[in-house]
Amino acid sequence: MYELSGIRKVFADGSVALDGISLTVGGGEHVAFIGPSGAGKTTLVRLLNLTLRPTAGTLVFEGQDVSALSDAALRRARTRIGTIYQQQNLVGRLRVVHNVLAGNLGRWSALAAAASLVRPRSAGQAASALEQVGIPEKLYARTDELSGGQQQRVAIARVLVQDPDVILADEPVSSVDPSLAVTIVSLLRELSHERRKTLLVNLHSVELALHYFPRVVGIRDGRVRFDLAPEKVSGELLAELYAGHRDEEQALERFQDGKNPFGGACRPLPGFGA
């Protein structure tokens, strides 16, 4: 699915976000990325969804070197990657149905897209996507009237409509409360499992990553520090990963004290370890 080798990303202001990332992700894999804030996780997502170009190194998506793609081919490739952001990725003034159907924009002609804003083209499709994320009654609600968790579900419904091969999520639960975080992460996991999609998630929460993902990648200072199954991620590795980041170290301590706020709220899916 993805082959990254020696990826570097230096921004215009000279800051180095990624500093030699090499990584291979197979089709259908579920991977969690963890690491302190500023480690480069968000930049990595923006590279993986092909909106940013690496400064150096090669990024291969589905066997094709991304830097060699034409604009049209790049757009086609992007339609196969769905991204869920931390927050604020929906247009609040639009009705939910339009935000969900925006998942079709990679397929629709401009004319069809414009017409759909007047009269939704496939309201049934939007309705069934909302059904799957558990808020079917919100189809014609205005999006900014929804709670943060509901908006995150709308974002997931949009990705379902887009029907990509890869789902990327950049801290999808950092703005919702812990119990909802578990629900949303499990929802993402179940939906991608059912449809055999690759799922790559940035997580602020080590607990969620270790509990719900069969492969955990630790990133710090733009480099991969470890790439392991969760049971092999030791306390020392985590301490090293977050060293010097006070808030996260404290959260880690709480976790290691055995006060895991998520407990065993969700049973692992078949084929996903422990």
């Binding site: 092909l50 940013l52 490739a77 992007r78 196969r80 990657i81 929906l90 925006a102 924009l105 804003l117």
Partner: protein
């Protein structure tokens, strides 16, 4: 694992407890410029009491009272009043038609800056993005820096007397203002939804339709309505250079020292402006 020592108070409230000096500096500069302008603009209320200034004012007021309310005069004014409204509506319509394309071209986030252009080469970004952007901004500046009064003066020479030069003058001058403000509204929408759509493979037009337009529309409509209110007032002024409407009647009556007619005309103008104010406020309230 070692316990993290809790942060010392000095650590938790870092940096500037000290206030910025800017507000004081700004207030001082502002006060100085007001004082200077007071002198430079020759503001001097005493001049009201010199010579026959007050007598002139009194003559004007006495001449204006009572306002001319004969049925004949009011009947005659109906057409110019309607014409004023028509000039403002058509002028604003032309301004919107000019302002939308120029405003889009003058929007840096659409033309050359930001996530939509990540892959463009430096030369491509300059030629296809920055050059048309800069041209559009220059055209908009010229349109709006020439006062509508001057535009009307020129258009009267070009297309003759009547409402049409007034329409053109408002269209061009307000087109410049609308385009500038549209581009600022578009640049200030939340960029995250745009990036999301872009990342999912939406075309540029798709991003504009589903991300940019719905976010910008209420502000764009509200500002356009506000400009329409201004256009009513402006179209009255434009009559003074022969561009039809109530302004032309006011100018005629003033030249003939018929101040009672002037008062009536001003009252009609007031009613028009108030009506437009009311209508646009209602529409804006519905949009918010």
């Amino acid at each position: 694992m070692a316990r993290i020592p809790s942060a010392a108070p000095a650590d938790r409230f870092p940096a500037s407890a000290r206030r910025s000096r800017f507000p004081y500096l700004f207030t001082a500069v502002f006060a100085a410029s007001v004082l200077y302008s007071l002198r430079a603009a020759q503001v001097d209320p005493r001049r009201f009491f010199e010579g026959d200034a007050l007598a002139n004012v009194a003559r004007f007021v006495r001449g204006a009272l009572p306002p001319e309310l004969s049925r004949e005069f009011l009947g005659l004014m109906l057409r110019p009043a309607l014409e004023t409204v028509q000039i403002s509506v058509m002028g604003t319509a032309i301004a919107v038609l000019l302002g939308i394309p120029l405003g889009l071209l003058a929007t840096s986030s659409l033309m050359w800056r930001g996530v939509l252009h990540e892959r463009w080469s430096r030369a491509g970004r300059f030629l296809l993005g920055f050059v048309p952007y800069a041209l559009a901004r220059a055209v908009l500046s010229v349109f709006r820096s020439i006062p509508e009064y001057v535009w009307a003066f020129m258009f009267v020479r070009a297309v003759g007397l009547g409402p049409f030069p007034g329409v053109l003058a408002i269209g061009v001058a307000y087109g410049g203002m609308l385009g500038k403000v549209y581009s600022e509204i578009l640049e200030n929408v939340n960029p995250r939804p745009l990036e999301t759509l872009h990342a999912a493979g939406a075309s540029r037009l798709g991003v504009v339709l589903y991300g940019l337009v719905p976010q910008a529309l209420p502000t764009v409509v509200a500002y356009t309505l506000y400009r329409w209110e201004c256009a009513i007032r402006a179209s009255a002024i434009l009559g003074f250079v022969g561009a039809g409407g109530l302004g032309q009647q006011i100018e005629l009556s003033m030249r003939m020292f018929q101040f009672n007619e002037v008062l009536t005309l001003l009252a009609v103008l007031f009613v028009l402006v108030a009506a437009v104010d009311f209508a646009s406020a209602r529409i804006r309230a519905r949009l918010a």
